[in-house]
Symmetry: C2
Subunit: 390 residues, 2 copies
């Protein structure tokens, strides 16, 4: 620990600035604390149906109702896999970071034959590679990642969806760190399954998952017995979701929290919410780059997080520790072994404000100086402020 | 709606008196509302480890650490099934209510061969039948239900465990509505897998599940690849749980709530908590019987709920509706089609007090009178008070 702490770790508020789980707004915390009510009673069912109704424009979905269930993001991803993949089915995964391989592991676990089109971390999905693969073989499903939270890259789902839609394959997308922060147009983009989770741009605690299934996918899922699936079986969810009822015992408090966060998004307006995420991520990026950091992605970026390489001589692990110890600011590193001394990741999803971005930059500059760097904080704040003003 | 409402539905507090989800104590609600913290940071990990430590005496377990994961009770049950059953494995289910058939469905979904020893609802598990079945065939696992919440019967797990332990089969138990309300001695009773969930006697909202695995079961699970299992794979949980770390993104708020409820149980003392559940369920039963209701179970009862048949001429569905509409008191009916006009179920698990039992009886008497019955409320309250004083 550095002895010349610029500020006491206790004198500044704890700042959860991970790319998820994100800080939970006070209003949502208060919703969590509401007394428990009967999960099949009229008051709760009304809330459940309003959640479904509020999610659909965020999904860009007009058809069947979304499913909601207790699970983490991995559970949401597994739900997509067990419903559209299965023993002996051939599936294709468009990988450009850490979440494609998770789809691979889950698909292999259910006995699917898995092909992968891989591009380097930080690059966009290889659309031509996917197109070639789909011409060479027939696939039951293609899996993609909307916001690759390991690299900060946003996938062009419209383009990928158009490619997949020319084949009989279903298109399943992990939008765990995308939904409600990055635009999603499930219907227009021909995405058959969108899965997401509560703890990212939906700004709730972790533990609640959702899945939205196209009519095309539902046709396949309901007639095709692909293998073992119970808890995550969309055939079990579908009739309940259509009636506006939860499947299993509803995670009442988590759903009440989600209801509150969806009302906040409704009050801000979805377009404004999405624009805010883009503005904040652009501002944080501009500020950090002006201070001497390097933007990691070499492709269109996700508006829900910023992934940076540290200035020369600044060790990322030391910087992350310094931010936590000296500034009470919790950011993330990477699981890419070769990047762990250079990569940092900061969320811009959920309840993040202009002030958070400026504070991030101020603390990044301070911690960088503490480690012997010479960040140009003035330039950084000016660059961010210019974007924020824009 | 009856026009001569004795009290306004709005003038009395909403009383969640289901056999789960149960009312959540104010302290636990406040814990839910604590700000989100990093799920891999030191503050949260300390809390996680304390949860594990506090659960073990409640489980009667000294060995490996329990697993905690986002799921409902069904998810907890499925986790037991996918880890100890599997394609082609033969399993035996001791059924005496609604939860045995759920184990059957889950086991069949993973391709297991399922035998069932069935006794009538309200009766105890057929121990001799289980013993005969285990002599006739070899089973990979036997499934039992600790507290059969559909009938109010408590299973003699010590006896069942001793029978199973004479064979190579693993013994897996659903203690969703048992744990922390009914005594559990996992080690002593030779239970290999105990699964439970947050929303019953653990007095948290629904959405958090747990599993505790014996060394004998872990030996089998880790070397035996039974088939597809990912989200619920104990092989994935085990190394993390042993380190005191969550697997996947931890459901931070739900775990913080569980931590608070476990501290409350710790302050009351586990023995006192268990004794309170027994005292309250005995008092509620005595009071209801004195008022003209009939105890449904014909076997030892679970201390976490009371299952009653209504007096002649009182329709259970009408009574439940009347309690909700006129008394703001939410109790449960049954899914047994032939009992739905006679059976009611009331929880005595979790944060339930003497006053709740007296209030239950007062409202039961009022609602019964509203429907034309003649309950002896004085006798009911006296009988309950005598037990409570005892």
């Amino acid at each position: 620990m550095n002895s010349r702490l610029p500020i006491s770790g206790d004198a500044v508020p704890y700042r959860l600035r991970l790319p998820g789980p994100t800080a939970v707004p006070e209003r949502v915390l208060r919703a969590l604390a509401r007394p428990m009510i009967a999960h099949r009673g009229p008051e709760f069912l009304e809330r459940f149906r309003d959640i479904q109704a509020r999610l659909k424009p965020i999904l860009g979905r007009t058809g069947a109702e979304p499913h909601l269930f207790a699970a983490t993001g991995i559970g949401a991803m597994e739900s997509a896999v067990v419903n559209v993949a299965g023993p002996g089915k051939r599936v294709l995964i468009a990988t450009n970071g850490q979440w494609g391989p998770v789809f691979r592991r889950l698909a292999e676990a259910v006995g699917a034959e898995v092909d992968e089109v891989v591009t380097a971390p930080g690059e966009a999905v290889d659309l031509e590679g996917v197109e070639r693969a789909l011409k060479a073989k027939q696939y039951a499903a293609v899996f993609g990642v909307h916001s690759e939270s390991s690299t900060g890259v946003l996938t062009d789902l419209k383009a990928l969806g158009a490619i997949v839609a020319r084949t009989p394959a279903l298109f399943a997308v992990d939008s765990v760190s995308g939904l409600a922060g990055a635009e999603m147009k499930q219907d227009d983009w021909q995405v058959d399954v969108v899965v997401s989770a509560s703890q990212k741009a939906l700004m709730c605690p972790p533990g609640l998952a959702l899945a939205s299934v196209s009519d095309k996918a539902w046709d396949v899922i309901q007639r095709d017995d692909r293998g073992p699936r119970s808890y995550f079986d969309y055939r079990r969810f579908h009739p309940n979701s259509e009636k506006g009822e939860p499947t299993y015992t509803a995670p009442v408090s988590m759903l009440t929290a989600l209801h509150e966060s969806l009302m906040m998004i409704g009050e801000e307006g979805l377009d404004a919410t999405l624009a805010r995420h883009r503005r904040l991520s652009t501002a944080l990026t501009a500020g950090a780059v002006a201070m001497g950091f390097t933007l990691f992605p070499k492709a269109p970026t996700s508006p829900t997080l910023v992934v940076l390489e540290t200035p020369d001589g600044i060790d990322a692990i030391a910087l992350i520790d310094r931010l936590a110890d000296g500034y009470n600011t919790i950011i993330a590193g990477t699981r890419f072994e070769n990047l762990k001394h250079r990569m940092i990741r900061i969320g811009t999803m959920g309840a993040v404000s202009d002030g958070d971005v400026l504070t991030d930059l101020h603390h990044l500059a301070g911690a960088t100086r503490d480690l012997g760097g010479r960040p140009d904080e003035t330039a950084g704040l000016a660059a961010a402020a210019e974007v924020l003003a824009g």
